[in-house]
Structures are given as structure tokens and as C-alpha cells.
Amino acid sequence: MSPLTLIFGLPLLAALLTALIPRNFRFVIRCVALLATFSSMVIALVMFCKCHPLDPGGMIRLKFLFEETHQWSPAIGFGYHVGVDGINLGLIVMGAIVAFAATFVSRRIETREKEFYILLMLMTGGILGAFASLDLVCFYGFHELALVPTFIMIGVWGRGDNKNFAAYQITLYLSAGALLVLLGLLALYLQLPPGNRSFDIVAITAYFQSHPIGAEAERWIFPLLLFGFGILVSLWPFHTWAPPGYGAAPTATAMLHAGVIKKFGLYGLIRIALPLMPAAAARWVPILAFLCLGNIIYCGLVAMRQRNLNLLIGNSSVAHMGFAFLGLASLSTIGMSGTVLIMVAHGFLAALTFALSGYLDEELKTLEIGEMGGLLRHLPFIGTAMIMAMLAGCGLPGFANFPGEMMVLFGSWHRYPVVVVIALWGALVIGGVYMLRAIRNIWHGAKPWPGISDPASAWRKLPFALLLACLIALGCYPRLLTDCIRSSVEPIARMASSGSVLKDNPANTIPHPAENPQLAAPKPGEGGSAIRNPQSPANPAATIPDAANVSPQPVPPMPTR
């Protein structure tokens, strides 16, 4: 039994168990949920420690660890296949940690806890299962399992006057997106030869590598998948469901949705859409790059106008997704690795910010920024945590978002220099403006607030500290994840960029000389002298030797005489 089955199976089991527990055993219900998510988290972390980076260079097949396969219906090729590689490893670990934190902060739900925790466990199991699945039916089905409970949770336990509208809007909009995805996935399945059809992602990828999809089919399948997955990730202009939805949602739902479920679309694009349809990808990614500017700049500007904290965070979250899309649009190893890192980093960040704002809502009974002010004196822990989170949101080094954004920008420069410059402005300046204005108006200043205080015990501070620690750990040493990520992203980037003009994108797959011993040490006299010729950037024949001589060697410490 693969640990992955346990990771998403335990919450689903907990949901079943909770259904059997009487309604008024509140403590027991909560314990079951906490135990399930805690175990998931521990198993995920152990699995993470056991994962080694898969060896890079010349990979033909995708390689997965901790695989488990069962054939359920050979006739249509539907089975149970789970596995983890660099891309979904980080997502699963992040999802498990966020789910645990979300369960923890739900202690404030006072009515109908039983139903709430059942739905929460369903969401957790669903999205973790979706990330772990390598079978298209399970992939889609688990995601739907995770999506539907949001409707009920926002409708019943939500806050604000227009929570019903927000609940309807988010569910119908995302279901429309999921419907487009379903059409695309089925169309993809039907492109396989009739005797050889399978829903297994590994099998499909292997088949389409050797027999590429026809151009006419690619022409309409790719946009379906692109926009379907895009709606799920709040691609501009299909983003208006996100801020009101998160504003109205209860804390745990917002944390799980913004942090984890939203990444499903990006994961789908990396896993399925981009590698299998490179020619269509080449045609559509410039449009994607343009749309992601909409996310970054437009939603950043909208965030500047918000007076409600949750709407501000929601718009900021949509703006971050713009970076993730830019990394995908770059079709390079650097950019796509950056996207995966952003997915994980943003998961932690969104969960942390929504948890903190949920705490503020509990204490202050309001989320209007105009009514706040001078809170740092009264809530030092929450205040420090939120200031750190907001600074992380504007790309401060030391937090995980920074290396992700850097990789995306560096990786996209060769294709879209103008977009990168504008995105840089959006990240650094616009992001800084609304975050710092928010800090100034919420935390700085002096105002009396009788009766509010920080979480009383260290135990209650745990979820915030946990998410913050994850952000800082990844930010200080991104190689914890990026070593695994890049080795899995490389074959995908190679497949995805094989249809595009910039065939030898220097930001793509040329390995660093440190990994390639025979290219490693230049002679002392010529150290660092060979350089990619600036006048002719695209020269397919001479890429690897030229570019490989570029990077320097580790500087040895000076020998003492």
C-alpha cells in the first residue's frame, strides 16, 4: 500500500467515521479530524524525506516514486494509479500541512460541527487524491469531490451579506471550468486508438510522445484545457469568482481553496496540457503571457482599491497566480520549476494570510480596513505574523515566494522580455504599495482596542507558526524542493517546447557544468572566458558546448601556505 493512498485515504475515512459519531460529541469529532490530518501530514513529511531527486538528463519516460497501480476496468482503461514525482511531491506535502492547519483553526465553528468536519475531510481527501492520481478519471473525480463541499460550506457557515451569491457564483463558475476540462480530457482520451485506450496519464504521455496528436485535434482540445484549467486558477479575465468567494468563505475553506484546490488547474496544465500538445502550446502561450499580465497588474491595481481585508488578500492571491502562468508560458525548465515552487509557496502563504484574517475577524468582528488601526500593540504575535506574510506576498527574500518568482522571471526573459519587466513592476512596486498601505492602516498607528488579545497558548499559535516556518524554510533553502522539481520538470519542458520556434531556449534544459564532470574544470588561463555570443542567440547547432562553458566553478578556499 503506497503512502499516497494513506495520505488521502485517511481524511476520507475520517469523514466516514465522523458521519457515525453523534452530533453532540464535539470534542471527539474534532479529535478525529485533527488526528486524520495530522497523520496525513506526518506521512507526507516522511515520504518527502525519503524522496531523492530523480536523476536528470535524457529521460524518456516519466518516473514516479511510491507508485501503486490497480486495474479496475481494463475495457475502458480505467484504474487506480497513484505516484509522486518532483511536481506533485511539494503539492501533496503542502496540501497536507495546510489541511492540518485549517482543521486546527476551525475550532471557532460553533454550529453543526459534525457536517462541517465531514465536508472539510472530504475536501482534504479529494484534493490530495487529485494531486496523487495518475489516472484521469480519478484525477478529475477527486477534484470534483473537493470542489462541491465549498458550496455548502460557504452557504451555511460563510460570513457577509452576499454569502449566498458568492457561494452560487464560485460553484457554478468553477463547475463550468471543470466542465471544459472534462470535455478536453475526454477528447484527449478519444484521440487514442480504439483498441489501446487508457485513462492512465503515464500511458497517454508515452503514446503521444511517439505518435503526436494531429494538428486539427490539437487546435480545439488545447484551448478547452487551457481555459478550463485557467478558470479553475482564476486566470484573467475569469477571476471575478475569487475575491468575493474567499471573502465570504469560512476560514478553513478559504485556506484550503486558495491554498490547495486552486493549484489543481496549474498542475493539470503542467502534467497534461503542455507536454502532450506542444504545437498548440506554442501558439497559445503568447496569449497566456498577455493574460497573466492582466492577473499581475490589473488585479494588483484592484487590490489597491479594496477596503476589506479578505478582498485585498483574495485579489493579491489572484495576482500571484499571474506569475505561475507566466512561468508556464515560458515553456522552459527554469520558468516551469518556478511555477511549481510558486504553487507550493503560495499555498502556504494564502493559507497563512486567510488564517490570520480569520483570527482578526473573530476578535474584531469586522474586516473593514478603515475600522482597524493600531493593532500591532494589542496583537503582537498575529501582527508580526501578518506583517511577515504580507511582506512575503510582495516578494521579500527569505520567504518561499521569492525564489519562485525569480525563477519565473529569469526563465521567461528570453521569450517575453517586455512582459517580464511589466510583471516585475507589478510584483515589486504595485505589490509593495497595497501591502504596505494595508500594514500602515491595520497595524501601525495608535488606537485603543479593549478586550482583544493574541491566541492565549502556544498550542493555539501552532498553525500560524507552522505555516510561517514552512515559508521561511523554503525561502532560505529552496533546494529542499527545487532539486526534485527541476529533475521532473525537465522532460516536460523539453516536450512542451519542442513545438515552438525558440527551439534552443537557453533557459531550458542545458545542464549546469557542475553536473557534467567532463565540462567542469576549465584550465586556469581561460577561466570564464568563453561566453555565449551575444549577437546570435539562437544557434541550434552550437548550444550545449557554448552555454556549458559559461558558468563558473565553485571558488575554492585559499590554501594556507
Partner: protein
């Protein structure tokens, strides 16, 4: 052991910050002790590192060095690539790697960074000791020292970085430490606003900086300074003027050059030790350090732009300083002006002169700020100079050290400021006459406003009752002042400029310079004396005309200040030159201009986006759902429940089907 010293120096303050925050939050004495110990230990480690570099040649190479003594050139550094870049110690590990992007995290110690290490840790230690007494009793004492330690870590990171992205990381961390420290008293609206302004202005500069970094990486494929220097030697205009200017943007933001200078005066809202450390000695110097570090990136056009921006800033700030009345604001504008000098020197390809002035300026400006802090402390937090006066009787030690600092700043021989300013003026005289004239004018203005400050605060008559309660500060506050005063006096003849010279002239590795104190260590007394004599008399021998112009400017400024402010009870200038003084007092209305610009562009765009989001896009979605609803209602009309209607519809359907079938 010596290979680990740079890492120890770098991480000691971080360790201190973490320890204070986790364990000593309620213990003020403990937090101060940990923080001060960390910085002082870092200083001693830096001295050990310097000695190690010097010892390197004392053990075993003495005979070769003696043999080459005749041409006064010593082989200072080891062979091969490290030698070509004058690196003494360097080591790194891989921080991030994907595709062709390789970002190491490493330390690299060469003469420039060695010397910045000494400045940062040395001046930093003295300021930490000063703030132990200055911040006593403050509610956020532990938080203060945590933030100071984080700042020390970030600044040391900037100094020791060996590649662009690591430099940028620590650059941003320095910015955020500054944000935390300027907004230390966050309950004060002015302080909170000043912190936000500083961070955002820095960010605008960082935007250009990062764009430049990406451009350089795209053109060369590497981010590390050593290999980059090799590349740029071969292809000087690889990224063109634009790339160089984008990189310079970062320095414009961090070192508060025109047009991003508006945050520095407001940053005086922070505690005075913060102003001394961050906004005089170290953080603002980081911009100058960076320009000197990557001097090879700038092509001649970019260098001209840099020099002109430096000169403009120097002049602008000096003019504004004439009419400021807050003691810290005057010093802030003075800092801006001196930074302008340094940037101007860097733009004139006189990077050793710029670094030299950076060092001397760090000493005497920190001294002046700490002296001002001492005065403010004695005056119960009053900062208006027109409420002080005759403080020289009450605070002798502060007065004397402040006077030494002022004289050093004005450039009186033989204090350190004289040598460093003269180096800059000599460079300007040689390359660009207009900038030379601006430099001399600024020197005169500097003397004028500094003596205005000194005469009004320490001389003249008492201008308010607060002076009656003034008294000298405790010893932990006066001893750092004395230390910095000594440094301000001697720093000029240490031969700093000559030691750095080979690194910038891209001379071959075996050309280096041994200053007189090194000759003494090498037990060569004769050479030491001749080097010392050369160092002391250098301006007279090398460039007498700039030196005389500088001295003339000092005399002019002093006489003007003496005449106007010797016994003035209030400022005589505004009555006689009202418009000019009003413009100067309002800092040329830059703040108002920028506020208007931001409102016109960013806020207007945000309003448009908000409107579009709420009324166009959202309504678009509701339109679709409304359309679906309407469609459903339309279809519902068919369900009448009436049998005849159903029969009619069935017949119509059959007719339609028959027609379609028979048509084809």
C-alpha cells in the same frame, strides 16, 4: 580556520537576533548584551581576517617580498583566477539551480569587502554600544536590538556577496530592516508613514536593479562577479547603457540619489542610533559599494549619467540643508550631499576615491549623528536648533567631538575628510570641469550649513529654557563618540585609496600597494616612514589646485556662517531672501510633486481597474447567468399543461422532421 571566518562574521548577528527574539524578549539587559557582543565579535573577527591576509605573506614569503622591495610593489595575493580578482578568501555552495540558472550562496573577501567589513562592524559596534544607553527605558528595547542585529546581518551579507542575486537578496533584507527600524515607534503616524515611504522608494529603485540583473544574466549566462568581470573586460558594452543605468537604479534608490532622494530626510523619524548606523554609515553606503563592486558594467555614457546625478544630488541637498531647522534633518541632507559626492566620484571612474570617502564619511557622519543624539537626549527630545544654544558649557565632550566631526566633514586638513574630499575634487578637476566647480561650491555650502548648526547649537546664547537642564551624557554614550572622533582624525592617512587602486584599474595581479602600517608589521621602518610622509602630503604633491580651491571654499563658508550666525537668536536669512528660503525649506516641493504624480498615475489606474472589475467583468458574468435564466424561462413557456398545445407542438415537430428528411 580562516576560510570559516567570513561565514562566522556573516551569521553571528543573525544568531544573535534569533536568540534575542526567542529567549530575551522580556530581558532588556540580556538582549543588549547579546547584540553588542555579536557585533563586537564580528569586528574582532574582521580584524583577524585582515591580519590573516597580511600574515599570509609574512610567513614564508618574506624573502621574495624583500627582494621586490625596490619597486615598492608587493605580491599581495595568491595565484590564478582568485588573484586576478584580488580575492583573498572565497567559498560558496549552491543555493538554487534549475536549467541554466545557477545561483550560489557564497562569501568573497577582497580588499574592498575587507575594508567595508571593518567599517560596518567597527562603526556598528560603537553605535550598538551608544544605543545601549540611548534607548534605555524604551518599551521595545529588545525589539530594537533584534532589528539592529538583523540589519547587521543583512548589511554584512551585502558586503560579502559574490554574485548578483545574493546581493539583491541581502539588498532587500537591508531595505526591510530599515523599514522595521524607521518605523520602530510605529504608533507615531509620522514614523509609520516614513517607514512606508522609505520602503516603497527603495522598491522603485530595486525594480530597475532586478531588471538590470536579469538583463546581465541573459547576456552572459552567469551571475557571479568574478566571471562577469572577465566577460566585461572582453566585451565592454555587453548590456549597453541601458543595462548599466538599470543597475544604477538600485543605487539611486538605496543611496537616496536624485530623484529617489525623498525618503532619507523622513527616515529621521527613527531613533538616532538608527539614523547614524543605517542612514549615514552603512545602508546608504551600500549603493556606492555596489556601484564600485560592479564598476565594469557601466559604459562611458552610463558613467557620465551617474556622475551628473551624483553632482546634482550633492548640490540639491546642500542647498536644502541651508534652511532646515531640525538638527537631524540638517545632518540627513548633509548625508545626501556627501553621498552625491561619492556617486559622482564613482561616475568619474575614481572608485577608490569614492570608497575612501565612504569610509571617512561613515566615521564622521556617525559621530555627528551620535553627537546629535547626545544633544537630543540632553534636551529632552527637542530637535529644533533654534531652541538650543550655549551647550558647549554643559556638554564639553559632546561639543568637542561634534566639532571634530564637523571639521572633518568640511574637509579641514589634516582630518580624514580633507584627504577623501580632495581625492574626489582632484578626480573631478581632471575629468569634468563643471562637476569640479559644483564640487567646490558644495564644499563651501557644506561648511556654511554645518557651522550654522554648530554655532547655533553650541555657541551663542541659550534660546530656550530647556538648555538649563542639559547635562553631559553617560560614559557609554561619550566613549563611542571619542572612538569615532579618533577614527575621523586618522582615517585619512591609512592609505585606503591606494590599497584599493589595483582592483579597479584591472591591473595585473602582482601590482599592489603596502601601506605604512603594513610596512611596520613587516618590520621595514624606513619604507613605513616614507609611505607615511607620502600619505600625509599627498594632496599637496599630487593635485595642489583642487586642494587650494577646497581650502578656499572652506574659508568662504566659515566666514559666511560666522558672520550670520555667531550671535543670532533667530535665522536672519528668511527675512532677507524670503522666496528662496521658502523654496529651500520646502525641499523644492519634491514631496508634493511625487504625491501628485502617484495620484495621477497609480491611483487613477487603480480606480479604472476597480471600476472595470466591479461593473464590467462581474456584470459580464451575471449577464451570462441571467441569460441562462432567461433561456430557461423561455423554454418553460412551452410547458403549458394544455393537451391541445402539446398536440400542436407534436404535429409541428413531425412536419419539421419530414421537411428536413425530404429536403436532402
Amino acid at each position: 580556520m580562516n576560510e570559516y571566518l567570513p561565514w562566522i562574521i556573516l551569521f553571528l548577528p543573525l544568531l544573535a537576533a534569533v536568540m534575542i527574539w526567542l529567549f530575551c524578549r522580556k530581558d532588556p539587559a540580556g538582549s543588549a548584551a547579546i547584540s553588542v557582543t555579536a557585533v563586537v565579535a564580528a569586528f574582532f573577527c574582521s580584524v583577524m581576517l585582515l591580519a590573516a591576509g597580511a600574515m599570509h605573506y609574512m610567513e614564508g614569503d618574506e624573502f621574495e617580498m624583500m627582494a621586490r622591495r625596490s619597486d615598492s610593489l608587493f605580491e599581495w595575493f595568491g595565484p590564478d583566477m582568485m588573484a586576478r580578482h584580488f580575492v583573498w578568501f572565497g567559498s560558496q555552495f549552491t543555493w538554487l539551480q534549475a536549467g541554466t540558472l545557477y545561483v550560489p550562496f557564497g562569501v568573497s573577501v577582497d580588499p574592498m569587502s575587507m575594508f567595508m567589513l571593518l567599517v560596518v562592524t567597527g562603526v556598528g559596534s560603537l553605535i550598538h554600544i551608544f544605543s545601549m544607553a540611548y534607548m534605555k527605558g524604551d518599551r521595545g528595547y529588545s525589539r530594537f536590538f533584534t532589528c539592529m542585529s538583523i540589519f547587521a546581518f543583512s548589511m554584512l551579507g551585502v558586503v560579502l556577496s559574490n554574485n548578483f542575486l545574493q546581493l539583491f537578496i541581502f539588498w532587500e533584507l537591508v531595505g526591510v530592516s530599515s523599514y522595521m527600524l524607521i518605523g520602530f515607534w510605529y504608533e507615531r503616524p509620522a514614523a509609520a508613514d516614513a517607514a512606508k515611504k522609505a520602503f516603497l522608494t527603495n522598491r522603485v529603485g530595486d525594480f530597475g536593479f532586478l531588471a538590470g540583473i536579469i538583463m546581465i544574466w541573459a547576456a552572459t549566462g552567469t551571475l557571479e562577479f568574478g566571471p562577469l568581470q572577465d566577460v566585461f573586460v572582453k566585451h565592454p558594452s555587453l548590456v549597453g547603457t541601458i543595462g548599466g543605468l538599470l543597475i544604477f537604479c538600485g543605487a539611486v534608490g538605496k543611496s537616496a540619489q536624485f530623484p529617489l532622494h525623498v525618503w532619507l530626510p523622513d527616515a529621521m523619524e527613527g531613533p538616532t542610533p538608527v539614523s547614524a548606523l543605517i542612514h549615514a554609515a552603512t545602508m546608504v553606503a551600500a549603493g556606492v559599494y555596489m556601484i564600485c563592486r560592479v564598476f565594469f558594467v557601466f559604459d562611458p555614457t552610463a558613467q557620465t549619467v551617474i556622475a551628473w546625478i551624483g553632482g546634482t544630488t550633492a548640490l540639491l541637498a546642500a542647498l536644502i540643508a541651508i534652511q532646515q531647522n531640525d538638527i537631524k534633518r540638517i545632518l540627513a541632507y548633509s548625508t545626501l550631499s556627501q553621498l552625491g559626492y561619492m556617486v559622482m566620484a564613482a561616475g568619474l571612474s575614481a572608485q577608490p576615491a569614492a570608497m575612501f570617502h565612504l569610509a571617512t564619511h561613515a566615521c564622521f557622519k556617525a559621530l555627528l549623528f551620535l553627537g546629535a543624539g547626545s544633544v537630543i537626549h540632553a534636551m529632552s527630545n527637542e530637535q529644533d536648533i533654534w531652541k538650543m544654544g550655549r551647550l558647549r558649557d554643559k556638554m564639553p565632550a559632546t561639543t568637542r567631538t561634534f566639532l571634530i566631526g564637523t571639521l572633518a566633514l568640511c574637509g579641514l586638513p589634516p582630518l580624514s575628510g580633507f584627504y577623501s574630499k580632495d581625492a574626489i575634487l582632484a578626480a573631478a578637476a581632471g575629468k569634468n570641469q563643471v562637476l569640479f566647480c559644483i564640487g567646490v561650491a558644495v564644499a563651501a555650502l557644506t561648511t556654511f550649513y554645518m557651522f550654522r548648526l554648530v554655532l547655533v547649537v553650541f555657541w551663542g546664547g541659550a534660546k530656550s529654557d530647556l538648555t538649563a537642564h542639559a547635562h553631559e551624557s553617560p560614559r557609554t554614550m561619550t566613549w563611542p563618540l571619542i572612538g569615532l572622533a579618533i577614527a575621523s582624525v586618522v582615517a585619512g592617512v591609512l592609505g585606503i585609496q591606494q590599497v584599493l587602486e589595483p582592483q579597479f584599474s584591472m591591473a595585473p595581479a602582482d601590482s599592489s600597494f603596502a601601506p605604512w602600517w603594513l610596512c611596520l608589521m613587516l618590520r621595514d621602518g624606513g619604507l613605513a616612514m616614507s609611505q607615511l610622509k607620502d600619505a600625509v602630503l599627498e594632496p599637496l604633491l599630487v593635485a595642489p589646485v583642487p586642494m587650494l580651491c577646497g581650502l578656499g571654499a572652506i574659508a568662504l563658508g566659515f566666514l559666511a556662517a560666522w558672520g550670520l550666525y555667531r550671535n543670532a537668536a533667530s535665522d536672519p536669512l528668511p527675512e532677507n531672501l524670503p522666496t528662496m528660503c521658502r523654496v529651500l525649506r520646502n525641499k523644492f516641493y519634491f514631496d508634493e510633486l511625487y504625491a501628485w504624480l502617484i495620484a495621477c498615475t497609480l491611483d487613477a489606474l487603480a480606480q479604472v481597474a476597480g471600476f472595470a472589475d466591479r461593473y464590467i467583468l462581474a456584470r459580464g458574468i451575471r449577464f451570462i447567468s441571467g441569460g441562462t435564466d432567461l433561456f430557461g424561462r423561455g423554454l418553460r413557456l412551452v410547458q403549458t399543461g394544455n393537451l391541445q398545445a402539446y398536440a400542436l407542438l407534436t404535429a409541428a415537430g413531425i412536419a419539421l422532421a419530414l421537411w428536413l428528411m425530404l429536403r436532402s
